[in-house]
Amino acid sequence: MPVVLENLGKRFGDGAPVLDDVNATIGQGEFVALLGASGCGKSTLLNIMAGLEAPTSGALEVPSDGAAFMFQDAALFPWLTARENIELALKLRGAGKAERRAKAGELLDLVHLGGAGDKRPHELSGGMRQRVALARSLAQDRQLLLMDEPFAALDAITRDLLHDELERIWKETGRTIVFVTHNVREAVRLGQRVLLLSSRPGRVVREWHVSEEHRTDAGLAGQLTGEITARLREEIRRHAK
């Protein structure tokens, strides 16, 4: 199992716990959607998995070489071209010059941006920037890919296409993906498993399995979306008092 979370807890200073007793295991090559309302500690959980933050209690097991990470905004470096952004990730990994050149070209092709390698981030659309960011996180060559609401700021048309794109790349590369989102449809569209996180404190309260039929049968997918939405709203309503 690449990722095991055991009784994981996190609090900042003396405040109320953000995460409390989080338990989950994520298998090799699995695509898991981590779903929750705003402020449920999804991003904190992802940061802990990425090693950007330390948990205050519990234990976690992640691959020893760390994880690749994709942020909500592309966070590309504006002084580098698309290709150079990808090459920097390869360079920091210790790849040689020729290898960097070849690998960056391959990755740009993989995200269908073969012709845009020499453009700078400000010359690219939001969707293109996110694809460069995806290529950059793939350049890290880590088995585990953590994604923090990477498509939240995109328009609906672009987002739908990037869902297809991400699914294709996941199948081609066999990565283990943990995808954080507050969008139920997105979670159902992408995840093999959807984990619902409660709010304040964050805790895994339920999980659903999404089968291949859900990917092709809109009725079935709609039904599951409705069910998950109902459970999510129940979770939100608890905080009304």
């Binding site: 942020f71 966070a75 002084w79 269908h112 987002r159 739908d160 997918a221 709609g222």
Partner: protein, 311 residues
């Protein structure tokens, strides 16, 4: 749909929703085509750039207007001609100074000192600034001192420098360093402070070491602020140099523009004084136009920060 749990989704909404719930393209080739179409719709067309004559004509016209006003003032004869010489008198003095080589010598001496002093200042201030910006205890300890040194006029160091180094080039360089180094350090620090925190997170996630983070991410990210510091550093070194040259004359110190200014005062020759002032100004303008201007413009354009600016 009879299932109770789907009642949250309105019937009319369902059809709209389903499009996003399942795959929206048919196979990889279709997806590639769709994306290519969307990419070209969403990216800006490349704008052709051509020479903008107003950039050249407007400053030249402004200069011409100022010279005409100057000439008019002199022609009206409010002051004695030897106290306020006209543009033509100054131009004549320019010719004399050029003919006997004084002008070339003064400009070359000062420019050379200014540039060498500035480059050494950059070499010292860059690592120091990066270190201060990255190491919190160092910054807390030395930050106020550096800011203070930037405010302290570097002319104040001239007497001390003359006592320590005598009338040598060391005096001039020392004063230049004291002027340029603090402002370059401060520019770099403020550039680093303005870096979006996410760049550091990205660097950490990508596995950058502390040194790699500083050199490959922090330094390039801070470049606009750093360049501002360099510009100010150059201005400070040029000013400090002039002050030092005016005050410290003789010994093994060569003949620079400041010395020329001082000579004009000693001879009570206003045309020499005006020539020296105009030359000092011209060097400042040329360095901005030929060195800092193009670098800054390129830097901003590459980062997409030029749109809508008046540059």
């Amino acid at each position: 749909m009879p299932n109770k749990s789907t009642s949250l989704v309105e019937p009319g909404e369902t059809r709209h929703v389903t499009a996003a719930l399942t795959r929206s393209s048919n196979g990889s080739a279709d997806l590639r085509e769709l994306e290519a179409g969307l990419d070209s719709l969403q990216s800006d067309a490349v704008r052709a750039s051509r020479i903008d004559w107003s950039r050249i004509l407007l400053p030249v016209a402004a200069l011409a207007v100022l010279v005409i006003i100057w000439q008019l003032y002199v022609s009206l004869g409010f002051k004695r001609q030897d106290l306020v010489p006209g543009p033509l008198d100054v131009l004549g003095q320019f010719g004399n100074l050029w003919a006997d080589g004084t002008l070339q010598e003064a400009v070359w001496t000062s420019l050379q000192r200014g540039l060498v002093g500035f480059l050494i200042s950059v070499a010292i201030a860059t690592p120091v600034g990066l270190l201060l910006a990255q190491v919190a205890p160092l910054r807390r300890a030395f930050g106020p001192l550096i800011s203070g040194l930037q405010v302290l006029p570097s002319v104040a160091w001239v007497p001390a420098a003359i006592i320590w180094f005598g009338l040598t080039d060391a005096t001039v360089y020392f004063v230049v360093f004291m002027g340029a180094i603090p402002s370059i350090i401060n520019g770099l620090i403020s550039g680093v402070d303005q870096i979006p925190p996410q760049y550091r997170s990205v660097g950490t996630v990508l596995g950058a070491s502390r040194l790699q983070l500083a050199l490959q991410i922090i330094l390039p990210a801070a470049l606009p602020g750093y360049l501002g510091g360099l510009k100010q550093g150059w201005a400070f070194s040029w000013r400090s140099l002039m002050a030092a040259e005016i005050i410290a004359v003789g010994g093994s110190i060569g003949f620079g523009l400041g010395s020329m200014l001082n000579q004009g005062r000693d001879l009570s020759d206003m045309t020499i004084v005006m020539s020296a002032i105009l030359l000092i100004l011209a060097v400042g303008i040329l360095i901005e136009l030929l060195v800092f201007g193009p670098i800054e413009k390129r830097l901003l354009r590459r980062r997409g920060l030029l749109a809508g600016s008046t540059r």
